[in-house]
Symmetry: C2
Subunit: 396 residues, 2 copies
């Protein structure tokens, strides 16, 4: 039977109709008043989204471009940074820092575990000359959220910058920059923000901008001081990715719009929704006898599921797409077959997640222990009874 | 009166309805078969467009990102390159090379002039250790086309790479890489290719790839060897800008489609059209008593017009937008007011250019010498009687 194509991958995520249609408007010029008005509105929304009084810079790049921009604008060759890694994207910080010629102190933990505030404090005590701590907020490859609120309480006490990759957390779970003391926060457009890939967003704290003043950017394309000057004039340094910024403006309008007008009612509504979907998905997975891969610090935007013995994640994912139209993700190398990842970030609701849970159950080679249709009702109960989301995004 | 917004700027250019609507389709995942099929088709078209058997790499960046990628993947710190500059974008090569730590030999000519093959040969003879020649095909800031066909006949004789910025020429005037001997050709999506900004395209010759093998890319985001590996699997290294690639596929389909089906009938039809529009615009401008700024090597994608004494280009442009809805470009710093630039690249036809000529005439503070409505008929005659375009893109 012909089912809808349902994208439950941790990026790209589904694009709301109104965002797609907004992006289909005729082209406008990025140095003219029509565009500047769109940028001005977008800037205001972005500051609220990032929880900062600083400017949020839009860059024509994927999220990895913003990670590159953060490293190359904040740290000079030879400086020491601490890199927290327990998954593929933690490794990416290390790779970028290596190309930049930084001295790297690595806190490595097995995939699936969280890097704790104590781990960071220990590394900072051993390395008082470290200039930065680079970490993911949500490690997309494992579905784990590092406890950034607690980590920020530690880094605040040291003369270091806390540089965070919010690619799978911005618009999904809270991390207000100014309040928590985050020095760099970045994301991509294709996850919580419900826009196609190709646009990234990056903000620095006042402290980070001061540090950036002393750094000569090593890549011409990512010159954030030049970007900042332009953003203050509602411009970008080079040709603006106009259609993506128009899409972002529309998505942000939706996020901050009243529920009665079809919006999310602001960040509170947005975070509560993703938190409830995480409870729902986790409960459904457990009810069908499967094990969530992230034991404690689970992400709000995706649920990683450990595969039972003899089940290959990549095969389950192919089968689910073929049989149900639901596209979920396998693990990432080297854990391709050990995991599946069911995303609930961006423009998804409980109905999509019911379809997602069904797709998983249906694609298991044999019915697991306790498997019956009750997993759906159990999931719905968890959704309906989800407690108020924890403001610090720490596990309950 | 309410007129259409008509974008006659040298990027961004108007996006055809069918491209905008194609981009509005629901999101698909960039690691799945649906996307790979789109990439495969796009790759085939791009090779024809660039005139090369090598792969054309799509990057999530503006055109300047592709310029940065070319320099940082082809030349190592300390190597010497020749930079040809007679406008703002020639200067950009120099700035990128400077950040990369290259030794720069500059061939500088006044804005509005072309860099000739003899200029390049002289520089190569004086600098036998130069590893590359970086040049624009069309210098967008002045509306001049450098004679790349003739220049390539020179660089071929030396052990250097000819690195060309085709941002305002690809899809507008011919520069078949393999046939002419161009070692790097790059462009952005928002000019001749009729797609929103945010996607750039870059191809290397076999010789350039050999050189790139010896270079350690200095910017993590622009690792072209990793991009090449991915493109061969119909992928990109990082998250693909899916909507822009879907738009590009549609635009390329239009370019290569038969005229009877609504397409351009291939590259020949595309180049002939832009050549005829250049003849038309130039004739119309002259007929109203104004002077084209580019005397001989004029671009096919835009006509630059010198402003008469007492007329500020930026004011004329504002007035034209307000009175007629036609958006044209002023000069770029430092020639902001000395020039206007009327673009005829991408999705424009004679009707748009008639509106453009009218917008210029109407916005002049006083009617210039010879000014009467005959300039429109003169322009149309030039359009209708345009000769066959010169295959080498050299002036007739």
């Amino acid at each position: 039977m012909k089912n809808h194509l349902r994208l439950l991958t941790p990026g790209p995520t589904a694009i709301p109709d109104r965002v797609r249609l907004a992006m289909a408007m005729p082209m406008i010029h990025h140095r003219k008043p029509e565009f500047k008005a769109i940028m001005e509105e977008t800037r205001g929304y972005l500051k609220k989204l990032f929880g900062t009084e600083q400017e949020v810079l839009p860059l024509a790049s994927s999220g990895t471009g913003a990670m590159t921009a953060a490293i190359t604008n904040l740290f000079s060759r030879g400086e020491k940074i601490i890199v927290a890694q327990a998954g593929k994207f933690g490794e990416r910080w290390r790779e970028i820092a290596k190309v930049q010629g930084l001295e790297i102190v690595e806190i490595a933990k097995p995939w699936g575990e969280a890097i704790l505030a104590g781990d960071i404090e220990e590394a900072l005590q051993k390395n008082p000359d470290a200039k930065g701590v680079c970490i993911q907020i949500c490690e997309t490859s494992t579905g784990v959220m590092h406890p950034i609120y607690e980590i920020a309480q530690v880094t605040k006490k040291y003369d270091v910058l806390l540089v965070t990759d919010g690619i799978s957390s911005v618009g999904i779970s809270p991390a207000p920059m100014d309040e928590w003391g985050i020095d760099a926060l970045l994301t991509g457009s294709q996850k919580g923000l419900m826009v196609p890939a190709g646009l990234s967003l990056l903000a620095f704290s006042e402290k980070a901008w001061k540090k950036a003043e002393k750094v000569e950017p090593s890549c011409f394309y990512f010159n954030l001081k030049a970007e900042l000057k332009n953003v203050l004039k509602n411009q970008t340094n080079f040709s603006s990715p106009v259609s993506l910024i128009v899409g972002l403006r529309e998505a942000l309008t939706m996020i901050f719009e009243d529920v009665k007008d079809g919006g999310y009612g602001g960040l509170d509504g947005l975070y509560q929704k993703h938190y409830a979907l995480a409870q729902m998905t986790r409960a459904g997975i457990k009810a069908m006898g499967l094990e969530p891969f992230a034991k404690t610090h689970y992400a709000w935007g995706l649920t990683s599921v450990a595969m039972p013995k003899g089940v290959a994640g990549s095969e389950l994912v192919s089968l689910a797409a073929k049989e149900t139209g639901v596209v979920i993700a396998a693990g990432q190398e080297p854990m391709k077959d050990e995991l599946i990842r069911l995303a609930h970030m961006g423009y998804v609701d409980f109905g999509d997640m019911l379809a997602g849970l069904y797709a998983v159950a249906k694609s298991l080679p044999e019915k697991p222990q306790n498997f019956d249709n009750a997993y759906m009702s159990i999931a719905m109960q968890a959704y309906e009874n989800a407690p108020r989301y924890p403001k610090t995004a720490l596990p309950n």
